[in-house]
């Protein structure tokens, strides 16, 4: 989850998010390059004693400031497209989970083997125990096996929502009447938080997502227990 005074992205917990993190650094480096150049030029234009500062035409500079931005754009586009195609590779998921958005909670369905489904409501602030995170905890978490490819089918029952978990590099719109697919692999065990990312009414900020990644054997025990409780 995010920590106080955080400036950058959350630590990556999936291979795709690691790639996105490095790409973000690359893009930020280019932004810094251009910003430094422009800042220096602005300061130099503002601090000159020359009164006639305006070149009327110059073929050379026109060529330079056309070609150079095109080159910079290519340097941004190539890694970006690489990650885009990486995310779309055939991934042969071990598990498919349906995440349905409602006003104002998520529900998860694990229907590969049995019929397991449950709702996931935010824990109200007054019900939190010490150590829990305000506006992020839910009563039931989406438990997944770690180091396994997971497919999530995202949809909604009423209005637009969006299922997002920043640490896993996942965000997918939940559109009523439509099934959107996303996939991820959780690289390490842990608990990862997200929040609804499409305005959906009064409690849009109060329908978080919690993904819990555990070893497969514990995931199987959990799903058996959940089926018994249902």
């Amino acid at each position: 989850m995010a920590h106080p005074s955080q400036l950058g992205l959350q630590d990556a917990a999936s291979p795709v998010m690691e790639e996105l993190l490095h790409f973000h650094d690359h893009a930020l480096m280019i932004v810094l390059l251009i910003s430094t150049l422009v800042l220096y030029i602005i300061v130099s234009m503002v601090s000159t004693k020359l009164t006639n500062k305006y070149i009327l035409d110059s073929q050379e500079i026109e060529i330079v400031w056309t070609i150079l931005p095109a080159v910079i754009l290519i340097l941004i586009a190539l890694p970006s497209l690489r990650i885009l195609y990486l995310m779309d590779e055939i991934n042969d998921p071990h598990l498919t989970i349906k995440a349905m958005g409602h006003q104002w909670y998520w529900s998860y369905e694990y229907t590969d083997y049995e019929d397991l489904g449950f709702d996931s409501y935010m824990v109200p602030t007054q019900d939190l125990v010490p150590g829990q995170f305000r506006l992020l905890e839910t009563d039931h978490r989406m438990v997944v096996p770690m180091e396994s490819p997971i497919r999530v089918l995202v949809s909604a029952e009423d209005v637009l929502h969006s299922w997002a978990v920043p640490a896993l590099g996942v965000k997918m719109d939940a559109v009523p009447g439509r099934l959107n697919q996303t996939a991820f692999i959780v690289s390490r065990p842990g608990v990862f938080y997200g929040q609804c990312s499409e305005i959906c009414g009064a409690n849009h900020s109060f329908m978080p997502i919690v993904v819990e990644a555990v070893p497969l054997v514990h995931f199987e025990n959990w799903s058996s227990l959940m089926l018994e409780d249902a």
Binding site: A12, E18, L21, H22, D25, H26, L28, M29, I30, L32, L33, I34, T36, L37, Y40, I41, S44, T48, L50, N52, K53, I55, G131, H140, R141, V143, M146, E147, S187, R188, P189, G190, V191, E212, V214, P215, H218, F219, N221, W222
Partner: protein, 76 residues
């Protein structure tokens, strides 16, 4: 006795010929500083983290700390 005629043309071009290379050099230095100060250390940090990473050990530590909902600490 006559004074030398002052330079009256090409003043901006002269200024640009002086300042633009400095501007480009500074921006490349800033980009290189970011790359070797932030980007590469971050890549190395992720590589180092996963090189020695023991998922089951970390999982057991988190489990005993009571972080998970699906699996409780051994005492419970």
């Amino acid at each position: 006795m006559s004074l030398q005629k002052p330079i009256m043309r090409g003043l901006l071009a002269k200024r640009l010929r002086f300042h633009l290379p400095i501007a480009f050099a500074l921006s490349l230095i800033a980009a290189a500083a970011f790359k070797y100060g932030v980007t590469e250390p971050r890549k190395q940090a992720y590589a180092d983290f996963y090189k020695q990473y023991d998922a089951m050990k970390e999982f057991n530590g988190m489990k005993e700390a009571g972080i998970f909902e699906s699996v409780r600490p051994s005492g419970e």
